[in-house]
Symmetry: D2
Subunit: 333 residues, 4 copies
């Protein structure tokens, strides 16, 4: 950590700062320039409160040199994390493809998607049963009945399942679900993160639309600090000024997160861009950038009014896309 002092700092305040830092077991190396004095802080600065130091009268700015995350940091854990669920590995040599229904609405819809998923050889089946919906007047989900349907589909098709948890109090309901999704709006719901950190459930953590890479990694750090190492990161678009797409997929997130962390990284193109015609090119880009897999929404009942959402692809698009993604992965190997 670097502390940049104002010109002519008052000496007693400077000494008090240095003394206080040393009680925190931080060693201070000053660099005195003509106009500016800089303090280099050496030691475990991850617990030093930058805001606190920058609030001092004598301090102009504080800059962090080391990342504040540890357990998720590739520097300290160079090997890729590979998560095993049944016969499947996430973060290993194979692509992970998750096919989902969006909001789960009926047995017919779920089973149609599951059948398409089975045919295309995808790894996981997703359905949302508790929302989240931005309007209180929208359909709020099948709830417990939806969880039951997911488990029935797993039984029938032999594909492990994933669903979004909204609140720590729902944990018992998700006991048999294979992967628990934490949605982008809950990425900094620390009560939920702390509760999940105490389990060993695999968690798919979606990036909030205004989260920096560091914010996302700090939320993952909450999970790992609690003892749960089964964490998957998921890029799903950030808020920018461009409104042609629902949000802007940040494809650089893939190689950057893989550099900074050892955790697997997936991409959800449909959530990011909100229209089916863009899902294949973005999914291809994600794999070409090094993603461990993608999430794709699939129509349960294509072509019917009221049967899906703007981002869902048809079963035949899913099949073609899955093939192409596997070929891309092979070329990159």
């Amino acid at each position: 950590m670097i502390v940049i002092l104002k010109e002519n700092p008052e000496e007693s305040q400077l000494n008090s700062l240095i003394a206080w830092l040393e009680t925190q077991r931080i060693h201070v190396h000053p660099t005195v320039g003509a106009n500016q004095t800089i303090l280099g802080l050496v030691g475990d600065t991850s617990r030093v409160d930058m805001d606190m130091i920058s609030s001092l009268d004598i301090v102009e700015a504080v800059k962090r040199v080391q990342e504040p995350f540890k357990n998720v940091n590739r520097k300290f854990h160079p090997d890729d994390t590979v998560i095993r669920i049944g016969d499947t590995e996430i973060g290993g040599k194979e692509l992970t493809i998750i096919a989902g229904t969006g909001m789960l609405e009926s047995r017919e819809q779920l089973f149609a998607v599951a059948e398409a998923a089975k045919k295309s050889g995808v790894s996981f089946l997703r359905g949302s049963v508790f929302g989240p919906r931005s309007s209180p007047y929208s359909y709020q989900g099948m709830r417990v009945e939806g969880i039951r349907l997911l488990l029935e589909a797993r039984e029938t098709f032999g594909i492990p399942v994933i669903s979004e948890i909204m609140d720590a109090s729902q944990l018992p309901l998700f006991e048999d679900i294979d992967i628990l999704q934490v949605g982008s709006r809950n990425m900094q719901n620390y009560s939920l993160l702390k509760a999940l950190g105490k389990t060993d459930k695999t968690v798919l953590l979606k990036r909030n639309m205004s989260a920096t890479y560091e914010d996302l990694l700090m939320s993952a750090e909450y999970l790992l600090a609690g003892g749960n190492r089964n964490v998957i990161l998921c890029e799903r678009g950030i808020r920018t000024f461009e409104t042609h797409t629902r949000s802007t997929i940040d494809i650089s997130a893939v190689p950057v997160l893989k550099q900074l962390s050892h955790l697997p990284v997936l991409v959800d193109p449909g959530d990011a861009v909100g229209r089916a015609s863009l899902v294949p090119p973005i999914a291809q880009a994600a794999v070409a950038a090094g993603a461990d897999g993608v999430v794709v929404q699939v129509h349960g009942d294509a072509g019917q009014a009221g049967s899906g959402s703007a981002q869902a692809v048809t079963p035949s698009t899913l099949t073609g896309l899955t093939e192409k993604l596997n070929k891309l992965k092979a070329v990159l190997a």
Copy 2:
């Protein structure tokens, strides 16, 4: 709602869409142009799922004409909402000034801030006792002991208190707290919003850093739809590319939210910009733009290393600022 069709839409699909809309009690008025056909949808479109319609093959785009929020909408409730707590009114003729400690750390700190607040005549005293902290390694708060201290300070100084709730399960702890803050990271924690909607506690709802005005109002709508009308909106900065300040205060939020909604609007300058020297000019701007009040963090123990955060002002700054804000309010009346 406007539905823009693709060129030469297939007629059977078009008829099926129109029939389906009419079962939703929506009347459809088509406008046929040379290149483009547009459907005008008339009726209660707030429950129509835009995504669903825009996913149809024959649809190019869907645009909403009416706002999706109702209970918070000024069109349907033209009079300002005024919330009474003890002798104080929020959203009425007087400015509401909330003085806070940031993270509550000790009785000394809280009582020093409370004394400064009392002297300056501010309306509410705030202290955070459960976080939120972006790092799991940061101090996580005084918890129940903090709640107790807030109530003691209220007793001693006669100032009502506000604190941030993180989770629906904490509701019993906040029973005696006057205003419950929902932080920006929880603005779309729908489990929490639904639980608060069923109470009559006054809620200060902070805008998420990537929330549009509509997003914020839809979260407020969750509270009002549940039956709770005691809601205060709070602008606290949005995420932009400018990094000189922690986030960018969106001062237009004040007049826009006052136009769109009848709810009181406060501004938290310190949270937005993260440095004490900018708090007075931004607080002044907020009041000049029509805000019903501001939130200001105050040093409990100015000048000591480790005693505060970068955004906290001194007690004497608070006194001068409060005077100036009241003068500005008088000029604008």
Copy 3:
């Protein structure tokens, strides 16, 4: 175009608006709802000033239905534009790879990059000779001498060349340059665009960091409206809150621009992200998303202090990357 009227619009003003629109040869179709009246405008609305209409007392909002761009619009020109320069095609079946020096500094540097480019089989050689530099104290470029060196390199290596023009007055200097780049900071320098629109020079138009897709296409429209159809669009990153990378590459720009327009689309990964280690994954993502090619900066003298910029890759990285990009293109065909 859709005009949404306020409740109970004054009738004389409404009639005056309709009459005025009809003098512009626009037909008006009203849809009268319970709370809201909507006017559907049919005809050539690309010349109607939205701002003007939305300023009227009786108007609540104006929404555009048709795109305001015509010559660049794929709807009116469904076939891809393919630009031929010597033996090379841009926008056709082969990838276009441009290898560049960044700021051109010396003959040695340029010739080292040109040699690497030749070996890797890239299509064009780029060097900047007039800046742009954000600081007046930075090196401002080799200017005319740089243009001369580029032409010498073309002669020696047989690779056509590209360089950035800053101002219409420089046009004579660029007479023999194969492609003229308009940098992102000049994307809305309309004096420059108008001057280039009157030539038949191939123009590489880079997206400004705050330009929407529509803004970029409207700037291209200036060129085509002037008569110049040899225009290449180039995505180079947009400004977002994420600061780990210099800007955020918007990979969706590739499929969206290809859908909206018939012009070729390139991507400049290095400019966007500002670090060499991210150039290969982003370039791969660009091609996988359907880009017609990429721009890559190459070190003239790797490993020497002062010899390059943070985003330049080594010659051997260029060779490996070019091979991989061609393989990806083949898989996608």
Copy 4:
């Protein structure tokens, strides 16, 4: 400047870097930590190329400590710059109010605005005569005839005038214009900035929608480095995800720019938000935040279809607003 080295940097490369820096008259102070070595660079680092250093193999990151701007920097020129034009001062004790027509369309329009300006006691009259227009099909301005009308209005009403210059080649036409506006799209048109830097014309430099404070100040630095000290900064909104307003006014720009620089700072609310009803509250906020003045568009012919733009206020609003702004300024003094 701080250079953060990678772990275990190769010693010969490190020595070569230090030697090279010392030839640039930069002294290097290393701080050696357990995991990390940091170099503190002391001397005139404003000419050191950060990108060049960060491209080295042994370097992890480079952080600037000193601002790269000098002539515009308040640290080196603590006193406010006050610009005198006729009897008027910009940046002094009085507010500067500029009333404008937007796009100048006719003598009647200009003279109506000039009369309103005269009555309200505003300082300057603005009219745009060369665009800029984002569409090549929009009206491109009155050009030379517009310049002539502005000079006639100045003669008639005794109010100095301001207009937007698009290109260095237009300088002769602007010889008698009092203030030359550089629009936000040209903020980094360095050819134009260099040309204006060689004159002594007063320049109103508008912030680009994606420019950081530093970017804006570096563009101003181009003007001052050329010798022209008569520069006014103008905030006019940045691009964010919020689309309810045309752009987002960044009110913090006012106090931050006043802290960082000695130049006067104006705000253009209408350009930022694009709707007249928001102009008064934002203008009030600007003055309350410490702005030296505001720019306000005024209707030349209110209420007529085709007579103005969405952001123009009526003459009577201008009068009321001017009074209120002067009262606010008095309260703040």
